[in-house]
Symmetry: D2
Subunit: 246 residues, 4 copies
């Protein structure tokens, strides 16, 4: 039994983050958002990715602006709070001892070189406020409302080295609406690990963004993988509608 290319032809509109589901040749399982076991998970909603003052704005800013990522993430936060859906944030911090690692992949080297997400110490908040590692200012009311669960920092790209999976399971969550920064790195590694752990995941295609470099459009790369791996890929408008209807 073989599958023809035609059979898996993919929908028009992928590049814009608007995935047309009705015409997709690939299966589109979809994810039914249900009360009590669905949560929103946001990766790295921090200045170094989302603020024009952040250290990576030069490479991700274009995609952040094109996708309207900052406002779309805000919509997800706001809607989740409005419908009382649990929100989990998985941040990225580096401490001085992380700079002593004996080996690193390409982007790890880069992130350390540009002092991305640097903090003085896990038990120190000196210089943290307003730094690149801090939350984007406009998200603070959502994150600091006493309900949002902020996990320990992931130290590579995925939640393998933090408590996200445990925190989700301890709340009875088995479906995740995933968004945040950056699309092909932390967001995608979270997607991949969450499906390995047996979660259903819907990725919000325009509430994320990626680096765009000559010959390397990391955002486009992530869209391909989201579409193949996740249970559903929908844009913010579609997702907000689903959240309100659940």
């Amino acid at each position: 039994m073989k599958i023809s290319i035609k059979k898996v032809v993919f929908a028009i509109g992928l590049a814009t983050g608007v995935v047309s589901t009705s015409h997709a040749g690939l299966p589109d399982p979809g994810m039914v958002i249900s009360k009590g076991n669905t949560a929103v998970v946001i990766t790295d909603p921090q200045n170094d990715f989302l603020s024009p003052k952040g250290v990576t704005w030069g490479v991700v800013g274009k995609s952040v602006v094109a996708n309207n990522t900052v406002e779309n993430l805000d919509s997800l936060f706001k809607t989740a709070k409005a419908v009382d859906m649990p929100v989990f944030v998985s941040p990225h911090y580096y401490y001085p001892h992380d700079h002593e690692w004996q080996h690193e992949g390409a982007l790890e080297v880069l992130m350390h070189n540009i002092k991305m997400f640097d903090r003085e110490d896990a038990l120190s908040l000196k210089g943290f406020d307003g730094s690149g590692a801090d939350w984007l200012e406009q998200y603070k009311p959502y994150i600091n409302d006493g309900k949002t669960v902020v996990t320990s920092p992931h130290k590579m790209y995925g939640p393998d080295s933090n408590d996200l999976v445990l925190q989700l399971r301890k709340r009875g969550i088995d479906k995740v609406i995933l968004a945040g920064m950056s699309s092909n790195l932390c967001t995608e590694s979270h997607l991949r690990e969450l499906v390995e752990q047996g979660f259903e995941v819907q990725v919000v295609s325009d509430a994320t963004a990626g680096a765009i470099l000559p010959e390397m459009d990391a955002y486009q790369a992530s869209l391909i993988n989201f579409r193949m791996i996740a249970h559903a890929v929908r844009n913010t408008e579609q997702t907000v509608k689903q959240m309100k209807a659940h």
Copy 2:
């Protein structure tokens, strides 16, 4: 501190799998292959991906042929055996009970629909010989030589659900030369999990291949992620040279 786009401009040649390291704007940490703690890891060297009779040939065949993947994997196997470097194979099998899963991502649905990697049972070999789940015939002498470590099957895309990491660690391996099928799915999920586990990884850019669909070149997507996440991306010719020199 900001990085400019120029600073991270990426090398010409990415698309061909020949990564020019000297001109790369992204850091290129590289990986020194050293005797005793480096191994070759091959994902899914099975008929369903690599044989023209396999169920996915219609979508991956073009990339397999363009990259000369079958011969390049053969070169890696042959060289590893010649220089006595450990080889680990992480296969993909599905059993009848896997078809009872309550939810699946897009490609999982597809793989199950086309009966990819299907076996009758973990404790049955009925119908296995020469099936889509079996090794590509020309690799059998390498895999069945009594030295290659075949891990339990991974059940999603990464080694999270098998014993690959443990088997590597039990042999003192902390550097991995990674290749196999398919590039953006199992190979990349192996890369991502191996770096989360603290391994150094060099991906062999043309000893893998990916699905090529209208508007979705999964192989190109994987090259971008390999280049950003791995410690090194080299083609087979470069890798074989390194292996022989180690």
Copy 3:
């Protein structure tokens, strides 16, 4: 704030596997067995542990007999099938390449020395039937009924290196009734990993058994840890009653 010893005084009867819950000083959260999301998980229901011909009978036989473990496991299997509750079996196999590990803990050395759970190869069944690695004969109708999910083998003591957690999650299971062999090694490591993964776990205190050596009663040690770590510890009679009532 301090807790007094009195406050955590523990119930009489622990040693017999009958945990008196009403008088227990430690909290006894209990686990409500509910339809659809509870499964039975059995570790190592294999000859090398449970048959008088098995290689460990000399050290575990006494505990197996005292607990009536073989019949109690049979009751759990039978009841699960009768009430249509999913059953998962996590076996233990060693292949020739596992004997090449560069380092091992004490019991790993012992298990390899006595050729426990040895199989010729993952893709060979030569000599398997009736061997120490095979299922205890009386459990075969339950395990081979086409419904029981047999996971890949765990290679140390816990399910970290197999697909048990994924298989449970893919079926919507978040509560586990845990039993099998041996109590303080594979059963307890399964308990510990399952709670790390956010499952609720009830351990069946007399459907397991452990090695009893001079000055080392491994079964008693496991009872202490079950009682402290698990959500509930109940004997087979109590558990069967719960399963039938659910």
Copy 4:
């Protein structure tokens, strides 16, 4: 092939934490401490376990005193610093949102009831200094020397939900000298997870302690499991000698 009870007879002296290796019937693989790839890992060196003012002193104090745990841990810290061996600390913290978990095992309920390890927030140090969650005062010079790696908190008992394994691997560590609190819970779960991840582990039998309750000697239970699972169990005196000789 069977093993007789005699063959696995265990050495006298287990109960005192002095493991006689020469007469042990169980294999005693031992662990050679080697420069560059061995580290000391300490679990929970915090007031709630080790200070007479800590919330668990009523149940663990007797064992802490009997083992001379506080001084033995101090010796390990001091020796490691003297011979320039890396030290990793894996702490235990609970935040308000952890108190919202939907289900917990017995000791989790207890720990939450007595407010063990409580902190206001991961991004707040209010009330932390000198609290039950803070380091034992005498260890602060070692832990705050700018070299000790403090991982994210584990949230259950093992390092599954923090970055310990990654941090060790990123420093090239594959052998661990393990000590800390409490013996059968966090220390043992760290042992079990570290061996699942392929580390060699030597447990320091008297640089740990456990709860002692009527009919439940958790410290003795842990000694049995350490002896069966770890590569080596040695007391502080023996371990310090090895560290100095390496």
